[in-house]
């Protein structure tokens, strides 16, 4: 029996611009995960550790990262590690990551397939690899495996290794190295280890083609990632046994708070975050606030969520709320600060006049609000007045979106609260 760990799409050095400077934490987590996967291979007495492409996010990653990755492999000299250049890190020549000093002086257990070739694994087993040399191609890289397999004994155990998208109708790009769905049986392979997509995908071609997905999730939507494949092969012609081994370091969770059911949302969010709290340092958490609320409620909930997000490795607050005054608050505001009530009505009017906002929901009208006797009822702002109003400050009405108006109301009411106190 031949046992191996099949992984792919480590994307070492990946970019997480949406998290700003906190992206570094996520990159560091990938090295931790690699160490864990290698340890798992050792624990399962794997004969080989395959990386089916995209070990690196890009050929131009930093040397220190390359060295750190090679050091991970060096720490397991008993484990044969086979590395395949993928579309993110294709073998393109002297500038590619595979020609760095760390790889050129890699330990003996590390084998990089810079060109297509066959490696005898022992006991009649062969590893056939078809690396990528470019970022895009319409050629099926597994075709080369069929050529390589033709030169091997028919009864030999043959394991293929390549990288590309499975040619599933409407699910792949034509220039994304499309791999035939019967690539393994077509080439007479007992197992075809591939990589490209980031979610686990098996049971293709009679279970002989496996895409293990990325071992470390990189987005909130990758819910079938975070694994490597443990593959056991008994003999040529026998179906492989494949099992997913979770290895991810970080968990990516996305939660929501809806002011429509503020209490329930608060309770649910609090419970979930409490549940996640023990693993907060290994969790990327996003909380989305939605719905309409009073300024005070918004401030209060926002403050609460921000505090709750603080312990997490990466906490992201997405605010899609809308500030609004309740009838009582509005009446009070109108009675005590009639000009402010007029200004809020003007903001509603501005939001309506902003391009594309005609259908936007308007705040409760304030034009008919009760104003002091010495202040006549204001008329709604005309477009000319709006333009005259915005011109000196060079504010472009076309760039104002609902989020801006939400912030405007929040700022106004929040500042009012501050100056009133």
């Amino acid at each position: 029996m031949y046992r191996l760990i099949h992984s792919a799409d480590w994307q070492m050095g990946a970019r997480f611009a949406q998290f700003g400077a906190r992206g570094g934490r996520l990159r560091e987590a990938r090295l931790v995960t690699l160490r864990r996967a290698l340890a798992l291979a050792r624990d399962h007495a794997a004969d080989a550790f395959l990386i089916a492409g995209d070990l690196f996010e890009d050929n131009q990653v930093d040397d220190s990262l390359v060295a750190a990755v090679v050091d991970c492999f060096r720490a397991h000299p008993e484990l044969r590690v086979f590395l395949l250049p993928g579309n993110h890190d294709p073998y393109t020549g002297p500038d590619c990551v595979w020609q760095r000093r760390a790889f050129l002086a890699a330990p003996a257990n590390v084998h990089v397939f810079r060109e297509a070739g066959v490696v005898e694994l022992g006991d009649g087993a062969f590893l056939l690899a078809s690396p990528l040399h470019q970022k895009l191609s319409t050629t099926d890289p597994s075709l080369k495996l069929a050529e390589l397999a033709a030169g091997l004994p028919a009864d030999a155990l043959k394991i293929g290794l390549t990288h590309g998208a499975l040619a599933i109708e409407a699910k792949h790009q034509p220039n994304d190295f499309p791999i035939a769905l019967d690539a393994a049986s077509r080439a007479g392979l007992d197992y075809l280890a591939i990589g490209h997509w980031h979610n686990w995908l098996a049971d293709m071609d009679g279970g002989r083609i496996v895409m293990p997905g990325t071992p470390e999730p990189d987005r909130f939507a990758n819910d079938a990632s975070g694994n490597v494949a443990l593959v056991e092969l008994d003999a040529h012609g026998r179906p492989p046994r494949v099992r997913a081994l979770p290895v991810s370091t970080l968990a990516w969770r996305s939660l929501a708070f809806d002011f429509l059911s503020a209490e329930a949302s608060r309770a649910g969010l609090a419970a979930t975050m409490a549940e996640l709290a023990p693993a907060a340092e290994r969790t990327v958490l996003r909380v989305t606030l939605a719905g309409t609320a009073s300024p005070a409620a918004l401030v209060e909930v926002r403050s609460w969520v921000e505090a709750a997000l603080a312990p997490f490795l990466v906490g992201q607050l997405v605010d899609r709320t809308r500030v609004a005054l309740g009838p009582i608050e509005l009446a009070d505001l109108r009675s005590r600060h009639p000009i402010l009530a007029q200004v809020l009505a003007d903001i509603d009017r501005l939001e309506i006049l902003a391009p594309g906002q005609l259908s936007a929901q308007a705040a409760p009208a304030s034009a008919d609000a009760t104003l002091p006797e010495n202040v006549p009822a204001p008329s709604s702002l005309t477009l000319a007045e709006v333009q005259a109003l915005l011109a000196p400050s060079k504010i472009d009405l076309t760039r104002l979106d609902p989020e801006f108006f939400g912030q405007l109301r929040r700022l106004l009411l929040q500042t009012l609260q501050e100056v009133a106190s």
């Binding site: 970019r15 998290f19 700003g20 131009q60 020549g93 002297p94 500038d95 020609q99 700022l411 501050e418």
Partner: protein, 902 residues
């Protein structure tokens, strides 16, 4: 604020200290003539109140007394709702500022320098310009309440946040919600922190910081991406170089193989070529050998044929030699015969020639004799002619030597004398003598040496003429001398004398007595000369070719001597002498023809002789040649025989056997050459050149390959260098920083825009409220103006900035403020200032200054204004500056400018 007093030192016309005040509450009138210093005093007070003590510039320098550098020192005592104060400032020279407070009945200094300035600024709600001296818009309320001389219609704007807004609020009676005002202020501050009032991003603000950060990141990213692009370019170049190197290497291998093959082929061909050359040389040698044998064979054959021919030729030559000898003998015989006959020809010729010479001598002799006779006769005739000539010449010599020209000269002289004489007579004296009796008169004329006697018949008139003088001696009577006194007559007489003298001399020279004699002599001479000429003509033919008769005589003598001499030489015989000249001449003619004939015959004979001699020489030569031919043939025969012997001796085995052997060798060599040629490849001659070309192409390819490898290696080095820089990782870091910066920028901009928009909306609503409150103020101003002008038909209208828009029945039909008369403008603004002062006075006492502003107001209206001002005097301090004290007599408190004792 109200004023209490002003002190000035070194200001304007006040070099010494003067004090103005104390001012009272209510109406104060500072009346003084023009240029007394009223306005200067108040302007100086404004500088002390509103300008920093360190301010410089024309506004401050204009305070200095004319022509001095004195430092203006000003002290102002004033009062606000907070207390009573004194500010003392010195400008320009050693500037200082001292602020004092009235406490416990005395002035207590509480601040100085900038602090003092700041205290006053805070108390009076004033502001400072960016640079230079303040202007009315910086003077707080006083900027509105001070109607300045010369500009009473000026009204500052109300945009200033502290003062203008307060006035506006007061005037419009809009009580702003303090919370909203704070809200507006807070929002304004928030917006100001990010944007300028014109909407520009504020330098140093958070938004600018974010934008700067972002720009820096973008720049770094651009550089990084450019590096990545460069890397891609280099990678592409490297791939191309790799492909090129591979392609060249393949080509190199192919060409190298081809070159080696070609070189081997060329070597083999060269070897075969050498072999072929050797075999061709062997073939040539065989061919040469065979040729030699064949040539020897042919030579032998030829020599044998030549022996035969030579033998025949020898025989013929011997026959020819014999024939030549025979002919020579014949010729010599003939020659001897002819040579023997020649003397006969010669002797005949000699005889003829002698005969001819004799005939010619005889003929010559006869000719000489004839010539001598002829000459002798000629001499005789010539001598006769010569004698005649001598006679004629002697006759001619006896005649005077007169020539026709001489004669013509004599005739001319005679004619001249006659002409002069006639002239003298025409000019001269005429004496008519008529004697009673016959008498004689001796006339002695001036020109005559002797007197001439002339008879005088009685009773007849005898006329006597004389040119000049006439001396008469009448017989019996005596002498009478008559003299002419005319000059012309004297000259004519003188010329006549001269002409007579010349004629006489000429005649004397010729030896003749008169001119007629001269004529006769000349005619005789001409006749003799004609005869002489005829004689000389007759002598010429006798002389012949001889010039003179002596020459003729000599020639005749010579001819006689030659004739005699020839006779002696020839000694003619009698017969010869008897011969006539004709006979001699006929004989000479005959001999003259015979001698050439004899000469010709001799020549012909000699020619025959020469021909014979030539034939003899030819025969000799032919004989010699024939003998030589015989010798040559004999020698050739011996040579041929020797050669034949040599050739035969060269081939002991026999010439035929030798030829057969040579033919065999030749055929074998020819076969070897053909075999070698068959082994050579086609175009083998071109193989070395092709091999060279192949080698050159290979070398060129090697060079290209080397260059391409260098390019590839350079690209590889660059790629390795760039690849190791972690460009993606650096870009990742920058992108993440950029995302943060973008968030910060967007957040700041949104925050700024929100604050600004909220602020502006509040302001917008405030202004709307203000506009709503304008109506009551307009009504108040309209009432005040009606009170001053008495006109109730016009209404005052204000604009949104609380500026006076104009006057009219309706807002739409108003007369704009700018179009109103100066007096009306002053009165309107006076009403507005009064309204402002009234409003502000609710908080604290206010000062209203009217500096000569009612000069354009008629007395009626001035009275009404004074009514109004008097009515306000309980609530305001009003200071009126005027140069018309009469108009304000009895009104308010009079103020004077008083010097202060030092």
């Amino acid at each position: 604020m109200i004023l209490h007093a002003i002190e000035l030192t070194g200001v304007g016309r006040f070099r010494e200290t003067v004090r103005v005040g104390p001012f009272a509450c209510g109406l104060n009138i500072l009346a003084a003539p023009n240029e007394a210093g009223k306005t200067t005093t108040l302007r100086a007070a404004a500088r002390a109140l509103f300008d920093k003590h360190t301010t410089k510039g024309e506004e401050l320098k204009s305070l200095q007394p004319a022509g001095t550098d004195l430092a203006p020192r000003i002290a102002v005592e004033f009062e606000t709702g907070a207390g009573r104060y004194r500010i003392e400032k010195t400008f320009l020279q050693s500037p200082r500022s001292l602020f004092k407070v009235w406490q416990s009945g005395a002035w207590q200094p509480v601040a100085e320098a900038d602090a003092a300035d700041q205290r006053v600024q805070d108390l009076l709600h004033t502001s400072l310009p960016g640079r230079g001296a303040t202007r009315p818009e910086h003077w707080g309320f006083l900027g509105f309440l001070w109607a300045r001389q010369g500009e009473p219609a000026a009204w500052p704007g109300l945009d200033d946040a502290a003062v203008g807004q307060r006035i506006r609020a007061r005037l419009a009676r809009v009580e702003l919600d303090p919370v909203i005002e704070r809200l507006r202020g807070r929002l304004g501050e928030a917006a100001e922190a990010l944007f300028t009032s014109t909407g520009q991003v504020r330098v140093g603000g958070a938004l600018r910081q974010a934008e700067d950060d972002l720009a820096g990141i973008e720049t770094a990213l651009a550089a990084l991406r450019q590096t990545r692009t460069d890397l891609e370019t280099v990678a592409q170049r490297h791939r191309q170089a790799e492909a090129d190197v591979a392609q060249r290497e393949r080509e190199h291998a192919e060409r190298e193989l081809a070159a080696v093959t070609l070189r081997d082929q060329a070597s083999a061909a060269e070897r075969l070529r050498g072999e072929l050359t050797a075999r061709q040389q062997a073939l040539g040698a065989a061919q040469e050998k065979l040729g030699a044998v064949a040539a020897d064979e042919a030579t032998l054959t030829k020599r044998q044929a030549a022996v035969t021919a030579t033998q025949a030729a020898l025989a013929a030559a011997e026959v020819a030699a014999q024939a030549a000898e025979q002919r020579l003998a014949q010729l010599r015989t003939r020659l001897d015969e002819l040579q023997a006959a020649r003397p006969e020809y010669e002797s005949r010729l000699h005889a003829l020639r002698a005969e001819l010479q004799r005939s010619q001598a005889l003929l010559k002799l006869r000719q000489f004799a004839v010539m001598a006779d002829a000459l002798a006769r000629q001499v005789g005739k010539a001598e006769a002619a010569a004698a005649e000539i001598a006679v004629l010449e002697a006759k001619r010599n006896q005649l005077p030597a007169l020539t026709p020209p001489k004669l013509r000269k004599l005739e001319e002289l005679a004619e001249s004398e006659r002409t002069l004489r006639a002239r003298l007579q025409a000019l001269g004296l005429t004496v008519e003598l008529t004697p009673e009796r016959e008498a004689r008169v001796a006339v002695r004329d001036g020109g005559l040496p002797e007197p001439r006697w002339q008879a005088l018949p009685a009773g007849e008139i005898t006329r006597l003429h004389s040119p000049q003088a006439l001396d008469l001696t009448i017989e019996g009577w005596g002498s009478i001398a008559i003299r002419s006194g005319a000059l012309e007559a004297r000259n004519a007489a003188s010329e006549l004398d001269e002409a007579g003298r010349m004629l006489r001399e000429a005649l004397q020279e010729t030896g003749l007595a008169s001119v007629d004699a001269a004529r006769e002599a000349l005619a005789a001479r001409r006749e003799i000369e004609a005869l002489l000429k005829a004689a000389q003509s007759a002598l010429g033919p006798y002389l012949g070719e001889h010039a003179t008769i002596e020459a003729l005589r000599a020639a005749a003598a010579g001819a006689a001597r030659r004739s005699d001499s020839l006779v002696t030489t020839v000694q003619p015989t009698g017969e010869e002498q008897a011969l006539g000249l004709t006979e001699i001449e006929a004989a000479e003619a005959r001999l003259t023809e015979a001698v050439p004939a004899a000469e010709k015959a001799l020549k012909d004979f000699d020619r025959q002789l020469d021909l014979l001699r030539t034939d003899e020489r030819g025969a000799v030569k032919a004989g010699q040649e024939a003998a030589q031919a015989v010798g040559e043939q004999r020698a050739g025969l011996r040579t041929l025989e020797t050669q034949i012997a040599d050739l035969v001796a060269r081939y002991p085995e026999g010439l035929a056997a030798a030829k057969t052997a040579a033919q065999l060798v030749f055929v074998q060599a020819e076969a070897r050459v053909a075999a070698t040629k068959a082994d050579l490849p086609p175009d083998f001659e071109k193989l070395p050149e092709r091999s060279k070309r192949a080698a050159a192409a290979l070398q060129q390819l090697v060079d290209e390959l080397r260059a391409l490898r260098t390019q590839r290696d350079q690209a590889k080095g660059t790629l390795e260098t760039l690849g190791g820089q972690g460009l993606y990782s650096r870009e990742t870091e920058l992108e993440e920083r950029k995302a943060e910066a973008v968030l910060r920028r967007d957040a700041a901009r949104t925050r700024g825009w929100c604050a600004r928009l909220a602020h502006d909306l509040i302001e917008h609503r405030k202004q709307a409220a203000t506009r709503a409150a304008l109506a009551p103020l307009e009504q108040r101003l309209t009432a005040a103006l009606s009170e001053i002008t008495g006109d109730t038909t016009r209404q005052v209208f204000l604009d949104e900035a609380l500026q006076i828009a104009g006057l009219g029945r309706t807002r739409e039909e108003l007369y704009a403020f700018e179009s109103l008369s100066q007096g009306t403008k002053e009165q309107l603004l006076l009403c507005l200032r009064i309204a402002v002062a009234q409003e502000l006075a609710a908080d604290e006492p206010q000062l209203l200054i009217l500096d000569d502003v009612l000069v354009n107001t008629d007395p009626v209206r001035q009275e009404r204004i004074l009514d109004v001002l008097t009515g306000l005097s309980s609530r305001l301090q009003i200071l009126i500056l005027t140069c018309h004290p009469d108009r304000y007599r009895g009104v308010g408190q009079a103020i004077a400018l008083q010097p202060v004792a030092p």
